[in-house]
Amino acid sequence: MIFDINKIRADFPILSRKVNDNQLIYLDNGSTAQKPKVVIDAIENYYSNQNANIHRGVHTLSQEITVAYENARITVQKHLNAKHPYEIIFTKGTTDSINLVASSFGKKYISEGDEILISAMEHHSNILPWQQVCEEKGAILKVIPINEKGELIISEYKRLLSEKTKIVAITHISNTLGTINPVEEIIALAHVKNIPVLVDGAQAVSHTRVDVQLLSADFYVFSGHKLFGPTGVGILYGKEKWLNELPPYQVGGGVIKTVTFEKTEYADLPLKFEAGTPHIEGGIGLAAAIDYVNKIGFDSIATHEHELLIYATESLQKTEGVKIIGTAKNKASVISFVVEGLHPFDVGTILDQLGIAVRTGHHCTQPLMQFFGLQGTIRASFAFYNSKDEIDAFVKGLERAIKMLR
């Protein structure tokens, strides 16, 4: 398929709206991505024609939607190249997926004095669940340091991997810096010592096609809404052997084979981890989003986004007073920056008046901000539907904001 930016933009209804009397320029894709019409239609169709509870009824609607939901699981499985559909667990999102693994893995495998290894660039969602397990079990949270450019120091990582390390939890792409971590190498190094690895793919899935078997990830997690799908749905991929080993996280309807007041026999994967009625239209919408991005193709997406990254980086470097935070060699289309003497909040407020949506603040990575000695940054994160024209408008808006605020 030829990459036609105008045609692609037309697939996203929200991109044509105005904000504060200006054409919306949406550069906050790291927070959440916009939805193509096919996803919105899938959700509408679900409620108009398909709504019923899954895995329950004998009636036609229930059967139809069960098939559709399970097909959505297969779409995710194929997209990630997982070995089996039941290795795909539907969750509420990345945070929920990490909490599930931290809780269930922690319950069974973490004891006093054990170590859990994360990195200095983690989102709070990949810090707090582990911190809590450590507090409960008397385990120790160890942190892989980063260098000035915002890259992991791999020699330190090797040093930190020890007999005490029970699990490594690491982000694929930093939400704040855009750094793409060498997860394949990280996983291989951990596996030499038989340590499982969870990869937080929240920021990665919209930029690159992930192959969990190629990576050999033990757990790979992400949110639907960052992959152009609905909010409130996410994925936990886990290797079959791990998911079978882990105890259930939340229990209730749908997770059982038999229940008596004395004992419960739990269902097989994936239902063991899917208590309650799931976010059915979320799963359906996510599958529609995955089909959509695959039609465009991740090769085209990567090429376009890389062009945007280079173009925006060069433009920002020419802007007086701007300092880019996170200059890793291997970066996704995410740029964090500060403007000398100006507060990110002020810059974000003026940009918003111009219809330009960026993220400002600590991006839920306070330890990372402490490393750089900053209160916060301004972050522009690009998706494949962003254009060079938008970057021009953004940089022009930024210059205007700087002039006003100085």
Partner: protein
């Protein structure tokens, strides 16, 4: 000048501007010209925690009136702080507790009060009122 009169004065001032740009420029100017808080009051216990911009605020009771000084690391927030101080400082605790601060809506800055903005303005108004309540209950006892 009463609280309502100051509010009206600010409304008149903002009506002179045609567009948001000028309104923000005015807010920025107000922020820049606001007298700074004494360094000794820029401590953690004077910090009103918003998500993004920080506001330090100090209040004192002099001759039954409350006087506020404040500062923020963000200039637009500082401009809004300056407006709040201009309206509320120098009034009795009761006057401060009772005022509704309708002028914020009239001058088109309401969106800065939405909780998601997290710029500390909402927390600051709350703190100013809490200080006033504290002074008022002290004088009663």
């Amino acid at each position: 000048m009463s609280i309502e009169e100051t509010e009206q004065e600010i409304i008149d001032e903002f009506e002179l501007f045609d567009d948001w740009m000028q309104r923000y420029e005015h807010l920025i100017d107000l922020g820049k010209s606001m007298p700074l808080i004494e360094e000794k009051f820029k401590t953690d216990d004077k910090l009103i925690k918003g998500c993004q911009s920080r506001v330090w605020m100090h209040s004192e009771l002099k001759d039954s009136n409350v006087f506020f000084t404040a500062e923020s690391d963000a200039i637009i927030t500082k401009g809004m702080v300056a407006l709040m101080i201009r309206v509320l400082s120098g009034h009795t605790p009761e006057e401060i507790i009772q005022t509704k601060l309708d002028f914020i809506e009239t001058i088109g800055l309401t969106k800065h009060l939405s909780p998601t903005r997290s710029n500390g303005l909402l927390s600051m108004i709350k703190q100013m009122k809490l200080d006033a309540i504290a002074y008022s209950s002290k004088s009663e006892s």
